[in-house]
């Protein structure tokens, strides 16, 4: 039986890079991934490029700069999950027999300051309803009430991820922080303080996928790449509606994606060795534990407290430092997770290696709603 394998990954660090264009960053990541895969010009039959703010033909500009055009190049926008969407399309095309080798990359150069999203209508902006961190704060407050999560737990997530990120040369923030400083940073939207929120930034990541026969060469296998949107009704869903129902049993988009991915990959949450998840804010990471089934509903606080998700624990989450350390370049972030997990499965994650990792899950979720779950195995 044939499958899809990851035969090369590359990354341009995430951060702020004055004078470096989005195309320049894409070139760095793509070059690195192609070199690792030993794939040159003409060696891939299609390319999918994830970006949310890149503009028209962003992917073409990158491959044009490398002198590698001619094949279909498709730009993919799915908010925070743009890279997951690109990966899903590429993997699906390979599985369907359309291509043997596909390049997938994600690029972003986020505007500085408060980011205007075309998602909101002008009247919503005028009424102050385009307040993105406020939606995160409401979700955090509900999670705190439902799962016994305190502000100290939120600070612990930041401390953990910043500690992990200190060992990641591609992260934006590489210094450790303590809980007192996190709780001492300015309140953005109660209960969320500045340091509990990730920073939108710049970066690029690339992955080369190839058809592989089972048992071939010990490569990292892409066991599932799933994208799902929301089922309507949940008022705090990432679909960011203006109203919802009182039905609290509506599954989250992340749960839909995870359930689908577990089934396709033939694994469950208990089989996972390492996870990269969406920590747009500290509460979002804890909510992800529950939505992905890493712990029971209501169990996020105790799962964190027990140290399971810290490096050295039973299921390290965000060994890369997560978005809280790396920052979030929308189009690149999901593929950045795949780069990290590929290195984890190859035992190449110096200073942050999860020992013996064989099954890994990456999760992104954002406006749309768009939720992506990727499972990699070795």
């Amino acid at each position: 039986m044939s499958g899809v394998s990851v035969c090369g990954v590359g990354i341009h660090p995430f951060g702020r890079f004055e004078g470096v264009s989005i195309t320049d960053m894409g070139v760095v990541a793509v070059r690195a991934a192609l070199a690792e895969a030993n794939v040159g010009r003409g060696g891939f039959q299609a390319a999918f490029c994830g970006t949310a703010y890149g503009g028209v033909a962003s992917g073409h500009k990158v491959l044009g700069a490398l002198g590698m055009t001619g094949m279909p190049i498709v730009d993919v926008e799915a908010g925070c999950a743009s890279g997951s969407a690109a990966l899903m399309l590429a993997a699906g095309a390979i599985a369907a027999g359309q291509y043997d080798t596909v390049l997938v990359f994600g690029i972003e150069k986020m505007p500085k300051g408060i980011i205007r999203s075309s998602f909101f209508e002008p009247w919503q902006e005028e009424a102050g309803l385009a307040a993105t961190p406020a939606y995160f704060a409401l979700r955090a407050q509900r999670l705190m009430a439902a799962s016994g999560v305190t502000k100290e737990h939120l600070a612990s997530v930041v401390v953990k991820n910043r500690r992990h990120g200190a060992a990641n040369p591609d992260a934006m923030f590489r210094s450790e922080v303590d809980a007192t400083s996190v709780l001492g940073s300015r309140v953005i939207c109660e209960p969320l303080h500045l340091w509990m929120l990730c920073t939108p930034n710049e970066g690029a990541a690339a992955v080369v996928l190839q058809r592989t026969n089972e048992g071939e060469d010990g490569r990292v296998r892409l066991a599932a790449a799933v994208l799902r949107s929301h089922v309507p009704g949940s008022v705090l869903s990432e679909s960011t509606p203006l109203a919802g129902t009182v039905d609290d049993t509506i599954p989250a988009a992340s749960t839909l994606a995870a359930t689908d991915a577990y089934e396709r990959a033939g694994v469950g949450p208990s089989d996972l060795d390492v996870v990269e998840c969406q920590d747009t804010d500290a509460a979002r990471e804890l909510l992800s534990y529950e939505e992905l089934g890493l712990c029971p509903a209501g169990g996020a606080a105790s799962f964190l407290e027990g140290g399971a998700t810290t490096l050295g624990g039973r299921l390290p989450v965000n060994p890369s430092g997560g978005l809280l350390s790396k920052g979030e370049p929308l189009g690149a972030s999901a593929l950045g997770q795949v780069v990290e997990l590929t290195r984890q499965l190859r035992a190449q994650a110096t200073g942050r290696q999860v020992q013996g990792a064989r099954v890994a899950l990456a999760h992104t979720v954002g406006r749309g709603a768009n939720a992506g779950v990727v499972i990699l195995t070795r």
Partner: protein
């Protein structure tokens, strides 16, 4: 001539303050803002209804920095209010200090000013205010003021 204009026509009425939503006869779902096609069951022909002006506070925070495209004052309250119809509404709150709000407290719809537009009109929107009239949840600050 300057006057008072809603931030968007068709969202709410000002006197008395009421949100204009819709009701789907096929599944019984309430929507806000008004939808023609029901997001829950995809049936067409949802009809406009006025939503209840009172409800209970379900979630709340405050916005401390002006969001994109917003020209009004900060901080302002922001939250979700649950109405008796079984619908939860994302809304501004008139109370901008979260420590003065309690989950589940009664709330009442009101209309608040946002900013003046280029023609000198006062632009207004909907918001929920603590409902002092039916305050069955202790509010220590108000107790002290009485």
């Amino acid at each position: 001539m300057s006057g008072v204009v809603p931030v968007r026509e068709g969202l709410f009425t000002a006197d008395p303050p009421r949100l204009v939503g819709s009701l789907c006869d096929a599944c019984g779902g309430h929507h806000f803002p008004r939808h023609e096609t029901c997001p829950y069951c995809a049936a067409d022909g949802a009809r406009p209804v006025e939503l209840s002006p009172t409800g209970r506070l379900w979630a709340f925070t405050a916005v401390t920095a002006p969001p994109p495209g917003y020209r009004g004052e900060v901080p302002f309250g922001f939250g979700v209010v649950e109405l008796p119809e079984g619908i939860r509404i994302v809304t501004r709150l008139t109370e901008s200090d979260p420590s003065r709000l309690t989950p589940g407290q009664p709330m009442r719809l009101t209309v608040v000013p946002l900013h003046a537009d280029d023609d000198g009109n006062q632009v207004v929107t909907y918001a929920f205010a603590p409902d002092r009239g039916r305050n069955d949840v202790a509010d220590p600050i108000d107790e002290a003021a009485r």
